[in-house]
């Protein structure tokens, strides 16, 4: 079952849901949103992801319902194509190749065979709105290069463009002017607001535009929080506008209700404002939405609104301004101080979420599980305020305990520090605040760690701080935690810069001290399992050291500018990511041996900030040695631009699809009495068939398992190709395959060998400059301890490997 594919870096989940306005289906049952290279279809009732429409090869930049068939969806992408989807079944119907990088998509009911897109021509900041004629053709891929120019010098975001009065005119805003193009008259009117000449108009910039669905009225949002309602704009002289002003900061998006009786606006205040009858005094609010409103959209049926927020969430809101559903993606905070962690219970990824919150994010279902409010204070959403920041967090005792540190520093001398300990409550299935410690240290806490030894009954927490102390906290009888050991006089700051001290966790005695005149130590970690006698340290000036705890000597060191060092909990492996101007490289190695198991070059152009190993639910079985480290755990890492990436042979979304597809198939079946009879009958048949299969071991192709057949049966008739085309496919699929599996494997192995060879050569090239102090015999001894077959193989390979690179260190 394992395809021997090359491991590649895959963007996994957590992509922005708030990149563009979400789109409702005509019946308000589904909501569509762009998510990286995909379009996600969510159910508005259950918040579940029903479908992922995949096919674009680059960022999807716009989605719109097909105005002529409300069961179809258009999408456009940076890859230069417009795709037409059947979203009910998640099928790609057609691809129109436009060729330009498409930035936004608009559809108009009147223009039946054309859509409008924003493209970029020549200069980087100049965008054009063009109409694209979509030719009618039966083929799957159609070239549509017939572009006709509409408006020039516009803004790339679709928020800055709106079509009004059933496509009679289009309004576009940029900087300080509003241009309106009338399709009938083929004229453009331009209205300019006074710019930053004096202070009063300093923030007159347009930020968004919306058109009234029934009347000739354009609403524009501005940087100073004003909303202007333009009327009479077909007359260059007699145009007039009204101002509505409630927002104190930039208006992020505007939307008219379907009937046009009310206008919705939102911004940084995180309050959805409904202006009724476009009157300043008649407005309703939906406050406390949690984060900046980035987009607002309205369902065509008029019963639902939805708001996209800067914390990567979509809130579905009823017409009476009650939030009904929340679709939450991975919250992308600007600063991830806590790093990536794994909740031992839920195996969820834990990191900074909303300000002052810790988010638990399920990697498997690409969904936020829940938010834990750590700071427990009202977040005041204003620019320039110094907020309390959650800086450190650590799990202990199999997820029973959670320790967090928050800090706020307004001035150099005014440090507010708080440490909180949370206990997992089985009843409520959540963390409950147990202890709050004010100023646990005099200065910033630099590290926080639970003692994870199995034998220890009391949870033990160690904190280290810049003030030169480290403190050990243990649980006492009255289920309170207070500190036991204080006052260690060693200058810890110095020790953290160059010296490593090892302490016995039982007696708190100083065991030994390592000193390496190499630079400040940035990362420290112990080896796991068989390699637990090793301690690894990475220094600031690019040296990776490995000490042997038994001999208290430096085992080896390598020159590697390590940015991230993460041990795998399930194996001896340690992953290190280095960064150079070229990009970030990943090295996976065992502490016991100074040569990497696996190297992946250039995993990301940007600096990788955090990484974590996530244990797999079902172990994979990569036979290839290079990939064996991925068998039990998966490595996730987060780059500076907040994209969560992983190494995999396939994208996690692909893995998601089977379950969701089943869900959908069930959902799409009408629950008629006929279905109950037939459906049950079919199920029984299936069971029988399966039983028969088991008994007879005859490899009859199951109709359900053949994709061609299931596709044929599940696809609505109106999107199917002609019967003659299907016939051959159908027959082919029923034929028994005669290819043997072994035959398939052989060439794969060859590929793999080749790959390995290549990897090896890569290693050689890289490591030639690097040196090792210890000799090879030491290394050999360690390995002999457990000579499994694979390791023997490895050993043999090592002999082949040129160790000249070690001497160069």
């Amino acid at each position: 079952m394992v395809e021997q594919e090359r491991v590649r870096v895959v963007r996994c989940g957590g992509s922005e849901l708030n990149f563009r306005r979400a789109v409702f289906s005509a019946d308000s049952k589904y909501i569509f949103c762009v998510s990286g290279d995909f379009v996600k279809v969510y159910s508005t009732a259950t918040e579940e992801c029903v479908h992922i429409l995949q096919g674009h090869r680059n960022l999807v930049t716009g989605i719109q319902l097909n105005p002529n068939n409300h069961l179809q969806l258009y999408s456009c992408s940076f890859d230069g194509t417009i795709k037409l989807w059947d979203y009910v079944d998640g099928i790609l119907i057609k691809t129109f190749i436009v060729g330009h990088k498409l930035h936004a998509l608009f559809t108009v009911a009147r223009a039946e065979d054309s859509v409008f897109v924003t493209i970029n021509k020549e200069k980087p900041d100049i965008f054009q709105l063009v109409s694209v004629k979509l030719p009618k053709s039966s083929s799957q891929e159609i070239e549509s290069k017939e572009l006709s120019f509409v408006l020039d010098y516009i803004n790339q975001s679709p928020k800055y463009i709106a079509f009004g009065n059933e496509g009679e005119y289009v309004a576009a805003v940029r900087d300080f002017y509003l241009s309106v193009y009338f399709f009938k008259k083929k004229t453009t009117s331009r209205f300019t607001l006074s710019s930053s000449r004096n202070k009063k108009h300093a923030k007159n910039n347009f930020t968004c535009v919306a058109c009234h669905p029934k009347e000739d009225c354009i609403a524009t949002g501005h940087k100073d929080g004003k909303i202007r309602l333009w009327r009479n704009f077909d007359d260059d002289k007699k145009y007039t506008y009204t101002c509505l002003h409630w927002h104190h900061d930039m208006v992020m998006d505007l939307a008219f209700s379907v009937t046009g009786t009310s206008l919705l606006s939102g911004g940084r205040e995180s309050v959805l404002v409904e202006w009724r009858d476009a009157a300043e005094k008649n407005k309703e609010f939906l406050p406390r939405l949690g984060a900046t409103i980035e987009h607002i959209s309205v369902s065509p049926a008029g019963d639902l609104f939805c708001t996209s927020h800067s914390d990567n969430k979509i809130i579905v809101i009823h017409r009476n301004l009650e939030a009904s559903a929340v679709i939450q993606g991975l919250v992308k905070d600007s600063n991830i101080f806590t790093g990536l962690m794994i909740d031992p219970r839920t195996k969820a990824l834990v990191l900074n979420g909303k300000p002052g919150h810790l988010q638990f994010y399920s990697l498997q279902s690409d969904k936020q599980l829940y938010n834990l409010d750590i700071v427990q204070q009202e977040y005041i959403n204003d620019y320039g305020l110094i907020q309390i920041e959650l800086t450190k967090a650590a799990f202990g005792c199999y997820g029973n305990w959670l320790a967090t540190v928050e800090q706020r520093q307004e001035k150099e001398t005014e440090l507010e520090l708080q440490m909180k300990l949370w206990m997992y409550n089985k009843k409520t299935q959540g963390f409950v605040l147990n202890t709050k410690v004010n100023m646990p240290h005099e200065d910033h806490i630099t590290a926080l760690c639970f003692c994870n030894a199995e034998k220890s009954e009391n949870p033990t927490l160690v904190t280290a701080s810049k003030d030169g102390h480290f403190k050990v906290w243990i649980l006492t009888d009255d289920s309170d935690i207070y500190k036991k050991a204080v006052g260690w006089t060693c200058d810890f700051v110095v020790s953290f810069e160059e010296i490593v001290t090892i302490w016995d966790s039982e007696t708190w005695e100083l065991k030994c001290t390592f000193c390496q005149r190499a630079g400040k130590i940035r990362h420290l970690c112990f080896g796991r399992l068989t390699c637990s006698k090793y301690l690894l340290g990475a220094t600031e000036n690019g040296i990776l050291c490995c000490w042997n705890l038994l001999s208290c000597a430096l085992e080896w060191s390598a020159k590697l500018n390590v940015r991230v060092m993460e041990p795998d909990l399930n194996s001896e492996n340690i992953a290190a990511i280095s960064h150079s101007s070229m990009g970030s490289d990943l090295f996976v190695f065992k502490p016991s041996e100074p040569r990497p198991l696996y190297i992946q070059k250039n995993i990301s152009r940007e600096e990788v900030q955090w990484g974590v190993f996530v244990p797999r639910d079902v172990p994979e079985s990569f036979t290839s040695e290079a990939y064996q480290w991925l068998n039990r755990s998966q490595f996730y890492f987060l780059t500076k631009s907040q994209s969560l990436l992983t190494l995999s042979t396939k994208s996690p979304e692909e893995k998601l699809t089977p379950t969701s597809k089943q869900l959908l198939a069930e959902e799409s079946l009408p629950t008629t009495p006929f279905y109950f009879i037939l459906g049950k009958h079919r199920q029984q048949q299936d069971e029988k068939l399966n039983a028969a299969l088991e008994n007879e071991l005859v490899q009859l192709p199951l109709t359900e398992n053949i994709p061609a057949i299931s596709e044929l049966l599940h696809t609505p008739a109106h999107v199917l190709p002609s019967a003659s085309f299907l016939c051959s496919m159908f027959v082919n699929s029923l034929l028994l395959s005669k290819e043997s599996k072994s035959a398939e494997e052989i060439p794969d192995d060859v590929d793999m060998e080749e790959e390995k060879e290549r990897d090896d050569s890569d290693e050689e090239n890289d490591f030639t400059e690097k040196v090792q102090d210890t000799d090879n015999t030491d290394l050999g001894e360690d390995i002999i301890h457990q000579l499994s077959k694979s390791e023997e193989k490895e050993l043999r390979k090592f002999r082949k490997v040129d160790y000249s690179w070690i001497t160069a260190l």
Binding site: E215, D216, R231, Y239, T240, T242, H248, K281
Partner: protein, 656 residues
Amino acid sequence: MGEFKVHRVRFFNYVPSGIRCVAYNNQSNRLAVSRTDGTVEIYNLSANYFQEKFFPGHESRATEALCWAKGQRLFSAGLNGEIIEYDLQALNIKYAMDAFGGPIWSMAASPSGSQLLVGCEDGSVKLFQITPGKIQFERNFDRQKRSAIHKMLVDRQYMGVSKRKCIIWGVAFLSDGTVISVDSAGKVQFWDSATGTLVKNHLIANADVQSIAVSDQEDSFVVGTAEGTVFHFQLVSVTSNSSEKQWVRTKPFQHHTHDVRAVAHSPTALISGGTDTHLVIRPLMEKVEVKNYDAALRKITFPHRRLISCSKKKQLLLFQFAHHLELWQLGSTVATGKNGDTLPLSKDADHLLHLKTKGPENIICSCISPCGSWIAYSTASRFFLYRLSYERDNISLQRVSKMPAFLRSALQILFSEDSAKLFVASNQGSLHIIRLLEGSFKHLHTFQPQSGTVESMCLLAVSPDGNWLAASGTSAGVHVYNVKNLKLHCTVPAYNFPVTALAIAPSTNNLVIAHSDQQVFEYSIPDKQYTEWSRTIQKQGFHHLWLQRDTPITHISFHLKRPMHILLHDAYMFCIIDKSLPLPNDKTLLYNPLPPKNESDVIRRRTAHAFKISKIYKPLLFMDLLDERTLVAVERPLDDIIAQLPPPIKKKKFGT
């Protein structure tokens, strides 16, 4: 330009009274404004918004309504129950007629202008027929006598509080049958008069909406609120290709701090006035054809006439208020300093005299003689002349009794330079010359108005040698009389715009005339023609920035030692025109800062032009030369006026 010692006077405690009504006349493009003290002012919107005429107020005549009818006839009605018609030529009240219904709260003229309707305190509505000379009572609509066709009940709901009574402050009836009402709950409501039903409701303010005015085309109207905001409503089509139209609130204007008691809608501008005493004229950009200075916002606060006169010899200032006069002795200093220094006073300014008028009428005009020993003032019905005598620190005031019968009311009073003669412009159009003797006077001559004209003279100027007297009315040309042989010498050709200030230069006897369109002419009285300089500047034209100034020139004076200099000022600048220097063209900088001292003379000469302008003192109500090196400037800062007004409605300001 020379350096001057400037008396910077800020103790003129003048507060204009609040605006109560505004009425716009489309035919003559004039605006009538009534104030809470009963004063009615006429502004000529075509003549650069100049306040051409005014009718002095009266304590018992609080104007509540003002309207134009039958072309250019102006009526007012007030709390004393009288309907008053004004004579716009003679500048007095034509007649007052009691409506016999108690205080009158409202008045409206029929569109044809033939009928006048007043609403009285007793609940009755009275209809008057307008006849050519008078008005005639026609019928009385008594309260509840006839059953009303429709009763439109206004929702009392006021932001959830329903206890307060809702008062309709104003209604407008459009020709399509729509009734618009504004009320104390902050609503603007549209009613269908045929069915008596509410059509649309706009809640626009948290406070009262106090006034409404509809444009003649009935495609836009304006309302004023007690919060000082003026809202503009426009009738716009719903979509470009349908004929359906709807009323939409478009722009709010916040030019007032206090209640907007009155609004008017001219074809090109929204006009509003209120308790904060400003008259604001806000042009509608879409209606203005040429984007010239007419398209700019105008804020008129001070009257366009002089309220201050000065005695140069004694360094006295006479301030004119509505019901009293104040005489001040200027302070003095012995200190010297360099340019820009504030000198310490060795003797403070002294309030010498507080002269209260007798009777309820407002003072029209006042004057102090140059020698400081005579004060004259006039109300609408009486003329007063006082003799002042100074005995060291004491001042004794003696009224000159037995004024002749013809000296009842004066529009302008002027003393000759040697204080021996008094010139009075009466409201009959005649000019009286009176010789002043110690404690008595003698009527010398009366210049009767030219036959056929009844226009009153309201500006006077006398030459320093006392030979020439120039007088100007509101529209006709300036007449120059020879005082010696008591004859009309000549008439300066009439100009389209009213005269705002007049003065005769010493020695040359050149008459300098400033008009409301900011043109300045110089006319040689002996030669009976415009001077060469005046012709040159007319040929070349004034600097565009000069023509774009807001306020008219209210005073002109001359420097005794520098005959080439003309000193003039408006509310925002003081200017010395040096006729010897080249005129500025549109490319040169008009408002030149003081030339830097270290620059060479050549550059300074090259950049120098005839107009030396100083904007240090504003709002400047009066400026004159006391002697060769001393100026007196009277300022009235707007903040001081606002501080004396009642507190405005408190509004929550975001971020406070």
